[in-house]
Subunit: 351 residues, 2 copies
């Protein structure tokens, strides 16, 4: 199993070789087995969107997640405003808390910046960070500031609190469960494509939607909390690396597989106006920060009846199947051919 | 007030311009005033060694601290083994918990590594990280892995638990309080000098002590916990950037000053055998990860009688004075001349 990051010249467009997401998965698996810690107050450690602890005497579980944004891998300084970057940095962390149904509460930020970054940049970045955090109930409580040679590095750790000790894990899915996503998929990837190829055509209003989805995503915190409280959901995670990368992770945690129906995907159809394939973006695009979850078939009606209309829509895109690790895509058209879904989310579109 | 990192060619020996520690202090002050969050469950936020939260219903306070190590700024890959680097990475974070008297419990690590880092390196690093954490009661519960263009970046967030809700802050010192440090000062800086100048002379056993102090420091967790529980200490922090940098921070938090007696400093005298000035190292060296704390004069006897003999010694090095921000150094010899202590810890010796 490959674990060390490997440069892959064909897929790279910058000199910074990105790490294959598969490598991180492998490392996580390896660490999970290498350090199988059982310790008091730890409900869940390595391997889910966040770790779950239960402080002695506490009414609630507390969840902790860490995520890093690296310049030239995760963002480009010229494509974003410092304030937007601050907003996105905390948003992607809060998305991990949303994925387990926790309320965001606190966060720390460690920041390494090159010496030519002006003071104004740092202040704008922190403004974005704190305003977005506050909008979702999370407050900056500490951090670290260091120098970096060339690239900005942003490392955030966010803490959330459960409600009524209800937390959703990646594991817990069963064959037959229906698979849902919130919102639409592929909009952020369409925005990234626009940034990568600024000469592309497309209606202005759609372009703005796509760019905002990529540069200033909103985590689905209220939706995640509602889903966790509803008691209707068997497993959940957030979509950060693309459906074709993340769905196998959700399935692996439950030891099952999945079947996705192409025609059900809530794509971003406007991407077609600038010659992108909305289905490809939805499957492999990444950075949607929508929620991916499963619901037992018997609870489908209750979910669809009770899910708040004010939230972004939810869409059933397929179902869990018994075959561990098998992810099938059921095609459009009369023959509905099934094919295996290749894992090419993050690094396909990321660079 | 300067806040953005500034290159300072004269003090740099690598092409990576280090950030002035004063800049981080200024940013912290700015953020504290810019975002004066008061929110439920937060006892203390930005500005101390760790933030303090009180989860709803919890028996204890929980403390959170974040620290980053950047290659070529904080370490050089060729000077250390990956396992040692893992051990040091968690140790410096646990030192921040020790500084407030908390028991280490959990930590997350976000790691960005260049693509040429072998799998072996990652495993050894994690071995060091987890073994050192475990030795002090802290368990790895999550993290993130990303690619970096050239330099390794290690960002850790550590969580600790108070005992009987007793936590020591930087604030709380009063004029007349006696100032103490644990262990000895300047040993780590002597080790760094050896690494920077491998041709220097010196007795082998002393060299090994100094190198280990620099490459594999131990946080003073048991000592910090004991001091917090003792009820004898008015304020505390850990020494990471050198006495001349950190003591002003301790004083600033209490709105007072300090007077340090040169002849009282628990120096590392062996550094003199390779032509270093032990007093300079003790004042400005940095990375000692010893505890710096103050004790009301009336409690001095109780402290010195009860402090466990098994712990590294504690030494009284001076006292707090009323003049806010004034840090005086009382010289050796019959005249005992007082002079202002210049702030030149971290960046003086760091590079």
């Amino acid at each position: 199993v490959p674990m060390a990051p490997k440069p892959n010249a064909k897929q790279r467009t910058t000199d910074s070789a990105a790490m294959q997401p598969a490598d991180e998965d492998s490392l996580i698996q390896l660490l999970k087995h290498r350090y199988p810690f059982k310790c008091a107050q730890l409900k869940a450690g390595i391997g889910d969107d966040a770790a779950v602890i239960r402080p002695k005497g506490a009414a609630e579980f507390w969840l902790i997640t860490a995520d890093m944004l690296v310049e030239s891998v995760d963002f480009h300084r010229g494509w974003t405003l410092p304030r937007q970057l601050g907003r996105k940095s905390i948003a992607v962390n809060l998305s991990d808390l949303a994925a387990m149904g926790a309320r965001p509460r606190f966060f720390t930020v460690s920041l390494a910046v090159p010496s030519d970054i002006p003071q104004r940049w740092l202040l704008d970045f922190h403004d974005g960070l704190t305003e977005k955090g506050k909008a979702f109930g999370a407050f900056l409580i500490g951090g670290d500031l260091s120098s970096a040679e060339k690239h900005i590095m942003i490392s955030i750790t966010a803490l959330g609190e459960s409600q009524n000790r209800k937390v959703l894990y990646r594991s817990g899915g069963k064959p037959g469960d229906l698979i849902y996503v919130t919102g639409s998929l592929g909009r952020s990837a369409a925005g990234l494509k626009l940034l990568q190829d600024p000469d592309s055509e497309g209606r202005i209003s759609f372009r703005k939607q796509a760019l905002l989805a990529h540069l200033d995503p909103d985590p689905r915190c209220d939706e995640g909390l509602w889903l966790a409280q509803s008691g209707l959901v068997s497993c959940m995670m957030d979509l950060s690396d693309g459906l074709s990368m993340d769905l196998p992770r959700l399935c692996a945690a439950s030891g099952i597989g999945a079947e996705i129906h192409v025609q059900s995907l809530p794509v971003f159809p406007e991407a077609a106006t600038w010659n992108l394939d909305p289905v490809e973006l939805a499957l492999h695009g990444g950075e949607d920060y929508e929620l991916l979850f499963a619901v037992p078939r018997s609870k489908r009606r209750r979910l669809e009846r009770n899910y708040p209309a004010a939230f972004p829509r939810i869409t059933c895109i397929g179902e869990m199947i018994p075959d561990a690790g098998k992810i099938l895509l059921v095609g459009k058209g009369p023959d509905q051919r099934r094919r295996l879904l290749p894992r090419r989310g993050w690094d396909h579109f990321k660079k």
